[in-house]
Symmetry: C2
Subunit: 381 residues, 2 copies
């Protein structure tokens, strides 16, 4: 197996590190925040704008794209990169999370999942091998295996039983991936991660991590967090998981999270993140700044003719005021969610880029302390 | 009164002409299509994108901005240009059309209009003088007087009576405008147009045109068309109106229209147009091409990997396929309406720019014939 990940620098005071993940569509410098483009588009944002935010890689979703526009169209388009005209790396989620949260789930068997489409109720079956096939048709650079994402809270017994299936599917996914020559339908290398599950049970997280490491993947995801558990439980679960993963492989914390979560996870050695928070919250008039969140619908912004954040280099902050954004949200204008999403994506992506610089300069812990002190000043304002 | 309009070239075979309209925020080359930014934003589109379409001027709406964010905010922002960060000219509609179509109208009196806000039901009164004040607070470059836009069809008697009010308001608007020194709140020149009404009655259109010319405005709008009457009735009404307007003043046909309407109106001597068609239709998956309209939700585009229109220089056509747009519309993605609006705005604005070049090169009639022949090929496809 080729070396796809290199650690560049380790923080002397924490487990934080910088690295480079090499994909068929270019290198990703870590730690990294990946915008979510569920349906082959990061909601409201153009590719040009995405590049402007500093995005290095986007996440898309196999479940959604399998249902719509479907594998045949994707194949004919020449894969997702060409379909959406995005030239940088793409990571695809397996769809496990969506099948368990969005679709009407009919049955999980050892073989795979039977489910009904959330769009039209049509019946489908996907095995772990099917999911690898779909991701290879999409032409993703980094692919996730089918897993069962258990809900929070779940009983220890249920989670333990679920792990058996998740690990079996992980094994089968690796076999299917290798059978395809570790390449997608367009002849380019794909990188398969294993996904650690286990709910908030430390013994099960350890068991899951070890089982996946036994199978041996080029990278490891930590799934099933940020599903409703308290932050502290997430942090402790991370601490119970990461020590059991190989240090020299990339660590991806799925679906997380808010700025303070990102700092904690990076300090524990996580390299990759994705989350809908910047775009979903942006569309709901919530924007992130160094000094906390602002709810732009508030009356206090009616006459606030400053930018969302002084010094921010995003298009929104360089061109528009809080008062204008407040008006756009108040008038239900499309541009509102777009401008706020653009700012938030810039904020999250640049926050990780700043963490990377801080790690390189051996000042990550101080940088974190300073950020947390500023950020809490108007938290939930 | 300073000379604000210059005719540059006249077509030898029709009444079409090219000209330059000089405003405090720069020159507008006519004939021109003005994108509609009702609530201080051209729906879904950023200012940078607007500039990329070739937009020279946008239209905004006094009624909407009077209600939200209101005069006080607009004044504090330093006017609409600064509020929305648009540096080129702005034309504002008086709000007459909206008051008569959108608001709950309580009463028209000789003094003005009593109406209830369509947003919160609050009660308001606007006189012609109030409207000039609002437009001067917005800091518009080209302003419209309050008028009564009668619905189609209306009885001859009703329209005749309505003209009395519209002309009286036009006179009062001019007095108010002159009392303000023909300048807005920021010391810049404003240009007041008179609005010809009269329904589809040729005698009333002539009467209205003459009454307004007697008052003497720097430019003339033709209102109350494209409100449901057949195209032929609109064309004939235009023909009954334009000969009674001074040739050396700019002619603005309000709220029109589709490509073939634009050709007919330009051939009769109209210089300025605005319409929501490019953006509204774009959001509804309808895009315009030289060969007619395409309804992008259609199944025929599922595997169509060409651009909306070959050779189109817009961002959408340079970067995305019909298949991708079809997917975005099908998946109810925000980016869909945005990309389609951007293409349509480019199409309409560049269509008028092409007409301008054709007029300058004495080939407008041939250009029109060729366009009509192409456009009808897949009309309403």
């Amino acid at each position: 197996m080729q070396k796809i990940f290199e650690i560049q620098h380790k923080d002397p005071q924490s487990k934080a590190r910088t690295g480079v993940l090499k994909t068929a569509h270019g290198e990703i410098k870590t730690p990294v925040f990946m915008p979510v483009g569920t349906q082959a588009t990061v909601k409201t944002i153009s590719n040009d704008e995405l590049l402007g935010t500093g995005a290095q890689v986007i996440l898309s979703n196999s479940y959604h794209l399998y249902l719509r526009p479907g594998e045949a169209v994707m194949k004919e388009a020449g894969g997702l990169h060409r379909f959406m005209n995005w030239q940088k790396p793409i990571l695809t989620d397996s769809g496990g999370f969506q099948i368990f949260s969005l679709a009407r789930l009919n049955k999980i068997t050892a073989e795979g999942v039977h489910f009904q489409s959330h769009i039209d109720g049509s019946k489908h079956f996907l095995s772990p091998e099917d999911v690898i096939r779909v991701e290879h048709t999409l032409g993703s650079d980094i692919i996730m295996p089918l897993d069962e994402c258990v809900k929070y809270p779940s009983e220890h017994d249920y989670v333990k039983k679920s792990l058996k299936i998740t690990h079996d599917w992980a094994r089968r996914s690796k076999v299917a991936w290798e059978a395809a020559g570790c390449r997608n339908d367009y002849g380019l290398s794909s990188i398969l991660f294993g996904i650690v599950q286990g709910g908030v049970y430390h013994d099960l997280r350890e068991e899951s991590a070890k089982a996946l490491v036994d199978i041996d993947f080029p990278g490891y995801s930590i799934g099933g967090l940020s599903v409703g558990e308290p932050s502290q439980a997430m942090y402790e679960t991370l601490a119970a998981t990461l020590p059991h993963l190989p240090e020299d492989k990339p660590h991806y914390l799925m679906g997380v999270g808010f700025p303070l979560d990102l700092f904690e996870a990076v300090s524990q050695g996580v390299d990759m993140f994705d989350c809908v928070v910047p775009t979903r919250n942006g569309r709901n008039a919530t924007v992130f700044t160094r000094y906390g969140k602002l709810l732009l619908r508030g009356a206090s912004y009616i006459r606030d003719f400053g930018p969302i954040e002084e010094g921010c280099a995003c298009y929104t902050c360089k061109n528009h005021t809080r008062a204008y954004l407040r008006h756009l949200f108040n008038a239900d204008e499309y541009l509102a969610g777009r401008l706020a999403s653009l700012h938030n994506l810039t904020f999250f992506i640049q926050l990780l880029a700043s963490m990377r610089r801080a790690i390189e300069e051996d000042r990550f812990v101080a940088f974190r302390r300073e950020f947390e002190s500023d950020y809490n000043r108007i938290k939930e304002s």
